[in-house]
């Protein structure tokens, strides 16, 4: 039904805000985690996010196959997808066709019957990165964010833990 994109920088309170929005609706809530625990820093972040969520959450891990996982979540359930940035990073490192997959993902999210809250990073507001992979990543992330924002009913830009409504 309603698709909400919660966009922001690092430590801007995106995940907490999206969780609060989801929990404002009735349980059960379905959580799709895209993180892969490939180092200690990431293990710590995943544990922190997981501990913040209480009972009533069903967790799905989908570092790669996001559209298939979306099919497994009940159509009317409240969904929190956290986050597009890690998924995109995983797909790019796997040398997938991220442009095509981004368009397919945006379409799939827009077709959900239940309310969906999708977290993503804005990464394009710094100086041009030195290395070509980082430049390709920020282009792909910007395009993915635009695709999802175009389909979304609500787009929120987080600043220091506070939501600014963009759409």
């Amino acid at each position: 039904m309603a698709l909400t994109l919660v966009l922001g920088g690092a430590r801007s309170g995106k995940s907490s805000h999206a969780e609060a929005l989801a929990e404002g609706l009735g349980a059960p809530w379905h959580y799709i985690a895209t993180a892969q625990a490939y180092d200690d820093e990431m293990v710590e972040r995943i544990a922190l996010h997981r501990s913040r969520r209480g009972a009533g959450w069903v967790t799905h891990d989908a570092p790669h196959d996001l559209c298939r996982t979306l099919d497994e979540v009940p159509a009317d359930a409240v969904l929190l997808l956290d986050c597009l940035t890690l998924w995109l990073s995983n797909r790019m490192l796997a040398e997938a066709d991220v442009a095509a997959e981004s368009a397919a993902l945006a379409d799939r999210l827009a077709r959900r019957a239940g309310p969906s809250f999708v977290v993503s990073n804005e990464v394009g507001l710094g100086i041009v990165p030195d290395n070509a992979l980082a430049r390709r990543f920020r282009d792909a992330q910007g395009r993915l964010n635009q695709m999802v924002a175009a389909k979304a009913d609500t787009v929120i830009f987080m600043v220091a833990g506070l939501p600014m409504k963009v759409k």
Copy 2:
């Protein structure tokens, strides 16, 4: 008459939005391109931008001498200048006095009779860059953006393809 600054990050939809605003007014439209095609990545970006614009556009190339090119565009014509960031980068690499040139450019844009849409990047919202040239660039870009924004009638900040009105 009216000066509009369209500001945003990489892949935030700045150019598309500025083009749509310009095309909302009557043709012919004058396009000032500041890009220099010094590598394959840039050649690709220029071609992509050019192909998106249809008939009715007159293109001027001005990687350096922007004020002179502004004198060549008919005074009442609709103008799209894309973008300040590449111009500033070109001028800085040419070791120009970018502070003085930025002030002169902002004045010149404010004096145009016709509607002007100016695209620029916000580059100051990441971590402090390691190298001194990048730091000087982001300072110069921030100052140029402030100068143009101060003269502008409308300032738009793009987030994921969506415009937020700042002024």
Copy 3:
């Protein structure tokens, strides 16, 4: 009484805007500077900021011990604290417990009787930094900004010298 957080990127006009807000209230104004002049670039920036402020300003230097300096400023005085980012950087390089100190600082600012204007940088909207210290810094900065924003009555996000009201 009222706590205002002025947040923005590099060269976004944060300091000028915060100074204008402070000077809109009656003198004397108390200025807490957190910068340490460890290189020529920083000496230049400090001198520039100092020259912009006129008479009627009392300056305190507090690169490290910010809570103690806050105790020295008269309780009802107008305060400008510029900026949290340099203080955090100084404390992190000194290997302090920045999470605990950030929480204590946010509490201390919220308890001031007089109006306080606090300047800080948003640094999390670029690509993930290569080095671990920069990543830790941007996390700590994001958390500090969130803590102060949560206690603030007013939060302003600066774009090209123009204020956007977030709270």
